[in-house]
């Protein structure tokens, strides 16, 4: 053995791979030189380059958490019917590109028959942004993949059709950190009880000053419990956010009964028309009812129906509500308005109606 081979291999710090050799050749050739696009049908985009070249993109839904045979199946389809290239979107849809319109229908048929719904374009409901949940997260209050699967089954029709006023982005999050992010509709865990503390473990597992610092409302303080250094929570101050749990797992926040689901609406990332907006609470207290969360699905459908019926073309959820007002939103969705809807966090006054404008 030479010395060179005994040396441990060190990483090649190569960073983000260059996409140019990997993308569809038509996209590479027309990079930065596209002219216009349209959508011939839901699930299909048609882009035309300044050169006159055209490319059709067929977008299909996936389960995101894919097993090898699913990925290889997508590769087989791409090799056979789409020049051997695919692209994934930010919402885990897969895109196949073809240079010839006559190949579109067969590709759609193949994808559908293999179980991948074609859609997710324009004013449809695209794939729900997906977190980790019970499958892999260390702090989840609920699952992610299962919630997404259940809801996508519910809104399957609206993934495949463009019938909403504008695009609808739905997100789910398994804790209040909200990895799923802002959404037209966001379905997030909401804890309702303070953490249950295992005092025997705190001093060994947790860096106590860091945990104290993490609390948004300064409800945690160091304490001696049964002669051991630990932490205690002022339960009157505690907002049950769970921020202490990741740095200190003995402060268990997840509660099968009392960790519930809340639904928020009107989040929007884009600066299109209106400035970006945060989602707002509309309902909490929905049970964390695995494996299919029917109570959540029912409310989501109610909100979607009201928006679909009443929204005007191009209005995102937030813009629709901005037009009709919150009283009408609660009326159309028949959801209760409570004291918990009134913001009391920092800057909360900005969420109050500081005018004489009233909807009747």
């Amino acid at each position: 053995m030479s010395e060179a081979t005994e040396k441990p291999r060190m990483p090649i710090e190569c960073g983000v791979p260059d996409p140019m050799p990997l993308m569809h050749p038509l996209m590479r050739e027309n990079y930065g030189k596209w002219s216009w696009h349209d959508r011939p049908r839901p699930g299909v985009l048609h882009h035309v380059a300044k050169s006159g070249d055209a490319i059709w993109t067929i977008k299909a839904g996936t389960q995101r958490q894919m097993d090898l045979s699913t990925i290889r199946n997508l590769c087989d389809i791409a090799d056979e019917m789409a020049d051997g290239h695919v692209r994934f979107t930010a919402r885990s849809n897969v895109e196949f590109m073809v240079s010839d319109e006559t190949r579109v229908d067969a590709l759609i048929e193949k994808l559908e028959s293999d179980g991948y719904p074609v859609g997710g374009t324009g004013n449809s409901i695209s794939m729900i942004s997906h977190t980790q949940g019970w499958l892999h997260c260390d702090i989840p209050g609920t699952d992610a993949s299962g919630v997404v699967k259940s809801l996508m089954d519910e809104i399957y029709h609206d993934f495949k059709h463009e019938e909403m006023p504008n695009r609808v982005k739905i997100t789910t999050s398994c804790c209040q950190i909200n990895c799923g992010g802002q959404g037209d509709i966001a379905i997030n865990i909401q804890h309702t009880k303070p953490p249950v503390i295992n005092h025997d473990l705190v001093s060994n597992v947790c860096e106590r000053p860091a945990v104290v610092a993490r609390c948004p409302v300064a409800a945690i303080r160091p304490a001696l419990v049964n002669g051991k250094p630990s932490l205690e929570v002022d339960e009157k101050k505690c907002i049950c956010c769970g921020a202490c749990y990741p740095p200190c797992p003995p402060m268990q926040i997840n509660d099968p009964e009392n960790s519930v689901l809340a639904i928020w609406v009107g989040g929007k990332h884009s600066s299109t028309r209106t400035k970006p907006t945060f989602h707002k609470l509309v309902i909490s207290g929905l049970p964390n009812n695995a494996p299919r969360w029917p109570e959540v699905a029912e409310v989501v459908q109610k909100i979607l129906k009201a928006y679909k019926d009443d929204g005007r073309p191009w209005e995102r959820m937030s813009e629709w509500i901005d037009r009709i007002g919150w009283p009408r939103f609660f009326e159309l969705t028949s959801l209760p308005f409570t004291k918990h809807h009134i913001e009391d966090w920092r800057g909360g006054r900005n969420a109050l109606n500081q005018s004489s404008h009233v909807h009747f």
Binding site: P11, C14, G15, V16, P17, D18, P19, M20, P21, L22, M27, Y31, G32, W34, H37, D38, H47, T62, Q65, M66, D67, L68, S69, T70, I71, R72, C75, D79, H85, V86, R87, F88, A90, S92, V94, Y116, P117, S129, W134, H136, C137, P140, G141, D143, K149, N178, G181, Q182, A210, P216, A243, N254, P256, H269, S271, T272, R273, P276, F278, P291
Partner: protein, 418 residues
């Protein structure tokens, strides 16, 4: 030993319905008896069913990594390994995808082959930060698996208090609304910051995201500490003949309702001859009219980026949107990209030196004030940075004349330059 696939009555219910089922995929892996991952995936199915039954998660973190790096692996050890021993270690490898998430099948198949040898057979395309998530690998297999992925040209992404994996929209590769080379910008910024990605030593995470226009398809404004949004300085390009065609096909009411009246700054008006009148000085490059009339309208020629800083989610002070710190920056020449490198390096450096532990850029700015941030980075104040000027008089302004002079000098300087 989990030699049998466990009974999963709850998970089984997630195989019903038309949407592709991850449970069916998990079972395929668990039943792929000839493969090394079958026992691990049987065990994993058992633990997941247990989570569904008890409505609790059973993973804890730890410390696992590859030689030479301090991050990029998400360690997962089971808290119920006694009952589900084969998946007692089920770590995730975060791997950075090609910018724009383009793949050829040769590459995807090779990634599958490597994962088949070492991992669980489960891959997520992609995680919320944009990583390829290779989910489920034992501690012992991480190094050889990484070595093969790395030799194939892939590198680990970010985790912990580090620069995180980035995302860019499809952009210039397929979209006429792209205003800069998003993939080049992403690779320029991120590949220059790999040390701070792979060896976590920042106060907390730091994310960069790249969208080609205000439609912001990768959600940069809110989901990154530093958001690059494509824009342009000159006029919207109009093909008036195509406008007339559009009005002819869709009618004036539709054009008024869905284009003219939805302009956020009332910059549009339909002329009597069905052409479009655009007040370009009032336009804020929001993309709406261009989205509706894709053939008639397009972004101008003098393109570049706006940079927004400070977006993040709830923890700890509440949600923050990114706010404007660079209203316009060209991103075309090599020199422009060098400036981008310098600016982003300074942003990371300032964050590293000034943020408190577990504080994001937006929270740091909230604490120290935007002015301190701008001055540290040498960015000139600009009215595009505010929704409106201050409303509170509680501020000390005894250097007013000096500040006004600065503005006046800049203004006369920029006039002279033109």
């Amino acid at each position: 030993m989990a030699t049998k696939t466990p009974a999963t009555p709850l998970l089984d219910q997630l195989e019903d319905g038309p949407w592709p089922s991850f449970v069916t995929g998990l079972k395929r892996l668990a039943n792929d008896e000839s493969k090394q991952y079958a026992p691990m995936m049987k065990s994993l199915l058992g633990q997941l069913e247990h989570s569904y039954d008890t409505r609790k998660g059973y993973w804890k973190g730890g410390t696992v990594g590859v030689r030479g790096y301090g991050g990029g692996i998400i360690p997962r050890f089971s808290e119920v390994a006694g009952a589900y021993p084969e998946s007692s270690e089920f770590h995730t490898m975060r791997v950075m995808p090609p910018a724009g998430m383009h793949y050829d099948t040769k590459t995807l198949r090779k990634l599958c082959d490597i994962w088949e040898k070492y991992g669980s057979g489960l891959i997520a395309f992609h995680g919320q930060s944009g990583d390829i998530m290779f989910q489920g690998i034992s501690t012992d297999n991480i190094q050889p698996c990484f070595d093969e992925l790395n030799d194939f040209g892939f590198d680990l992404g970010g985790a912990g208090a580090a620069i995180r994996t980035s995302m860019s929209c499809v952009g210039a590769a397929r979209c006429e609304q792209s205003n800069y080379d998003e993939a080049r910008a992403l690779r320029t910024v991120i590949n220059n910051l790999l040390d701070d990605m792979h060896r976590p030593s920042l106060p907390y995470k730091m994310k960069f995201k790249f969208s080609g226009c205000a439609n912001d398809c990768v959600n940069a404004s809110h989901r990154s500490d530093v958001a690059f949004i494509g824009t342009w300085r000159d006029d919207i390009k109009v093909d008036q003949e195509k406008v007339k065609e559009f009005v002819g096909e869709n009618g004036r009411k539709m054009v008024n309702d869905q284009v003219i009246n939805m302009c956020p700054t009332r910059a549009l008006s339909l002329n009597d001859d069905d052409t479009l009148d655009i007040d370009n000085r009032s336009c804020v490059r929001c993309m709406h009219c261009i989205n509706v009339m894709t053939k008639a309208l397009s972004p101008g020629d003098d393109k570049g980026v706006s940079i927004l800083v400070g977006g993040k989610r709830t923890l700890k002070i509440g949600d923050l949107m990114g706010s404007m710190v660079v209203p316009f920056m060209k991103l075309e020449s090599d020199e422009d990209f060098e400036k981008l490198t310098e600016l982003t390096e300074e942003m990371v450096e300032f964050f590293a030196e000034n943020a408190l532990e577990h504080e994001r850029t937006g929270e740091m700015i909230d604490r120290i004030g935007l002015i301190n941030y701008l001055e540290a980075l040498g960015l000139e104040v600009d009215p595009n940075m505010v929704a409106h000027p201050r409303t509170s008089s509680y501020v000390r302004m005894d250097d007013w004349d000096e500040q006004a002079d600065k503005w006046n000098q800049r203004k006369s300087g920029s006039v002279a330059a033109e």
